[in-house]
C-alpha cells in the first residue's frame, strides 16, 4: 500500500535519510524505532509532503506522493499525527476535530467521523467545548489522534505519540491504536519507546543514522540481541 523506496533526504549539508526503504501493507501495524536524530521524523515528514526528499520514491496505491503538497497527501488517505501534537490551542476541541474533516472527501462523513472519535475517546465528548490548549497532555494526544481520524485515513502515521505521557496513559494510548487498527486503518508508528512500539507492531524497522539497520517482526526485533543491547538496556528501561 505504502512503499518508500531508496529515500534520501537532507537538511542543507546534513544528511537525514540515506537509501531508506520501508513499506506498510493494508491491515498492518508497523513500528519505526530508533534513537533521537535517527531520521524517523524526517521519514514521516517526507511521506506527509512537509519535507521534500532529495531522491527516491514514495508510492501510495500506485501513485507517486513525492511531489504532492501535504494537503493533497491527506486527501489521498494518509494522515499524520505530528510530534508534539501541534493542536490549534486557541480553538475548542470540537473545532480542532472539525478541521480534520476539511477535505471534500472527509467533509461528507463529518458527523459519522465525529461520532466515531467520541466513541473511541469518550473523554473528548465531555471536553468538546474546552480550549484544546487547556487540556492535559494525554487528552491533547487524544485530540491529535481524533483530528487525524477525522481526515478518514487509510494509513495513520504517528510521530512519538507517547512522548511526555505517563506510563499508564501510554498503555491506554496503545490500546486505542489497536482499536483503530481493528477498524481497518493501517498504522505506521514512530517511537522512541521501543518496547511498547515493537510489542504492538506486526513488523518493525530499526533506523540508525538515517539508515535502516534492522527489520523484522515486532517480536523478532524485540528479541534481537543488538536491539536489546542498544535500546532496551538498563537506561532504556528507566524511561
Amino acid at each position: 500500500m505504502l512503499e518508500v523506496w531508496q529515500l534520501d533526504a537532507a537538511y542543507g549539508e546534513l544528511r537525514a535519510l540515506a537509501e531508506v526503504s520501508v513499506r506498510v501493507e493494508p491491515g498492518e501495524i508497523v513500528a519505526l524505532v530508533g534513537s533521537n536524530g535517527a531520521g524517523k521524523t524526517t521519514l514521516l515528514r517526507s511521506i506527509a509532503g512537509l519535507t521534500r526528499p532529495r531522491a527516491g520514491r514514495i508510492r501510495w496505491r500506485n501513485e507517486d506522493l513525492g511531489h504532492l503538497p501535504p494537503h493533497k497527501v491527506v486527501e489521498r488517505g494518509v494522515a499524520m499525527v505530528p510530534e508534539g501534537r501541534r493542536l490549534f490551542g486557541h480553538m475548542t476541541v470540537e473545532e480542532n476535530l472539525g478541521l480534520g474533516a476539511f477535505t471534500r472527501r472527509a467533509r461528507g462523513e463529518r458527523s459519522a467521523s465525529l461520532a466515531r472519535v467520541y466513541e473511541i475517546f469518550p473523554r473528548l465528548a465531555e471536553r468538546r467545548r474546552q480550549r484544546a490548549g487547556a487540556l492535559s497532555g494525554g487528552e491533547q494526544q487524544m485530540v491529535a489522534i481524533g483530528r487525524a481520524l477525522m481526515t478518514r485515513p487509510a494509513l495513520l502515521m504517528l510521530d512519538e505519540p507517547s512522548l511526555g505521557l505517563a506510563p499508564r496513559v501510554v498503555e491506554a494510548l496503545l490500546e486505542v491504536l489497536a482499536t483503530i487498527h481493528q477498524t481497518g486503518v493501517a498504522v505506521f508508528l514512530v517511537e522512541q519507546n521501543v518496547r511498547a512500539a515493537l510489542g504492538l507492531a506486526h513488523r518493525g524497522y530499526l533506523l540508525a543514522h538515517g539508515r535502516v539497520v534492522g527489520e523484522g517482526s515486532g517480536a523478532g526485533l524485540l528479541g534481537d540481541p543488538e536491539v536489546r543491547r542498544a535500546y532496551l538496556g538498563p537506561l532504556a528501561l528507566e524511561r
Binding site: P70, H71, V74, P82, F88, H90, L99, T103, T151
Partner: protein, 290 residues
C-alpha cells in the same frame, strides 16, 4: 463642554475608520507574519477608486464599495502571488525584515504611480449629503461620517463572522496558528494565505472609500494611514477583529481628546505615546494573546 463632546464624537467617527484600516493590516500580519507597510497606499488607491467612480459616473461612494472592494481584493491576490508569496517562503525572522523592504518598495511605487496618474492634488467626494448633519442637543452628527461608521462596523462584523464561522475562515485561523498542522488537515495553506491577503486588501480598499467620502484623498496619505493602522494593531493586539476595531475607536477618541485639551498640534503625539506605552507595558496589546 459642548465643544469637547463634539470633538469626542468626531473622534469616535474617525476612530471607526482607524479600526477598519487596521483590520486588514492585522489580518495579514496575524496570518502571514508579513508586515505590509504599503497598506496605507492600498487605502489611498481605494479612495481614488471611489473618487473617480463618483466623478466620472456619479456613483454614490457607499455603492462604489461594491465595485472597489472586489477590485481591491483581486489586486491583493495579484500582489500576493507576485510579491508576498516569495516573502512567506522565508523563515520567521527574515520574513518580517524582507516584508518591510518589499512593502516600502511597493508603497513608493504606488505613491509615484498615483502622483503620475491622478496628480498630487487633494480630492474629496462631495455628495449632496456631505455637509448635512443631524442636530443632537448642542452637537451635530454629520450624516456621511455616521454612515461610514455604520459601514465600518458592518464590515468588521462580517469579517469576524467569516473568520469564526465559515470553513475557510477557520482554515485561515488554523494556518495562522500553525501552518504545518493546518496542511496536515488537508488545508491548502497557499490558498488560505492568498485569501487572507486578498481580504486584507479588500478591507483597505473599503477604508479608502470611506476616507475619500468623509475626509480627503491624495497620493501622500498612504504613510499616515499605515502609521495609524500600525498603532491600532499594536494597541489592540492580534487575533480579534472586534478588538482591532475597538483599538481604532480608542485611538480616535484619544486623539480628539488631546486635540481638544492641548491643541491640534498634540493630536499626533498622543497616538505615538500610546503606541510606546502599550509596547512597554503590554506588548501583546489590549485584546491580543501573549
Amino acid at each position: 463642554m459642548t465643544a469637547l463632546a463634539q470633538q469626542l464624537l468626531l473622534g469616535v467617527l474617525l476612530g471607526g475608520l482607524y479600526g477598519l484600516a487596521a483590520a486588514g493590516l492585522s489580518l495579514v500580519f496575524g496570518v502571514l507574519r508579513v508586515l505590509n507597510v504599503a497598506h496605507g497606499e492600498l487605502i489611498m488607491l481605494g479612495g481614488y477608486g471611489a473618487f473617480w467612480l463618483f466623478d466620472l459616473f456619479g456613483l454614490d461612494p457607499f455603492l462604489s464599495l461594491l465595485v472597489v472592494m472586489p477590485l481591491a481584493g483581486a489586486l491583493g491576490g495579484l500582489l500576493y502571488a507576485g510579491l508576498f508569496a516569495y516573502v512567506v517562503r522565508l523563515g520567521e525572522e527574515p520574513r518580517i525584515r524582507t516584508s518591510l523592504l518589499v512593502g516600502f518598495g511597493l508603497a513608493l511605487c504606488l505613491h509615484a504611480l498615483a502622483v503620475r496618474l491622478f496628480t498630487a492634488d487633494e480630492r474629496a467626494i462631495t455628495t449632496t449629503y456631505a455637509g448635512r448633519g443631524i442636530p443632537l442637543g448642542a452637537i451635530v452628527l454629520p450624516i456621511g461620517r455616521l454612515v461610514s461608521l455604520a459601514v465600518a462596523v458592518l464590515l468588521i462584523l462580517l469579517l469576524d463572522a467569516f473568520l469564526q464561522r465559515t470553513r475557510w475562515g477557520q482554515a485561515i485561523r488554523a494556518a495562522a496558528e500553525d501552518w504545518e498542522a493546518a496542511a496536515l488537515q488537508g488545508i491548502d495553506v497557499r490558498r488560505a494565505y492568498t485569501l487572507a491577503f486578498a481580504i486584507g486588501t479588500a478591507l483597505a480598499g473599503a477604508a479608502g472609500v470611506l476616507v475619500a467620502t468623509g475626509y480627503s484623498v491624495s497620493p501622500a496619505i498612504g504613510l499616515e494611514w499605515t502609521l495609524k493602522a500600525l498603532i491600532v494593531v499594536v494597541l489592540a493586539g492580534l487575533g480579534s477583529a472586534l478588538g482591532t476595531f475597538a483599538g481604532g475607536v480608542v485611538l480616535g477618541c484619544a486623539e480628539a481628546l488631546s486635540a481638544a485639551l492641548f491643541g491640534g498640534a498634540y493630536r499626533e503625539v498622543v497616538g505615538l505615546l500610546l503606541f510606546f506605552c502599550v509596547l512597554v507595558a503590554r506588548p501583546q496589546g489590549f485584546f491580543g494573546r501573549p
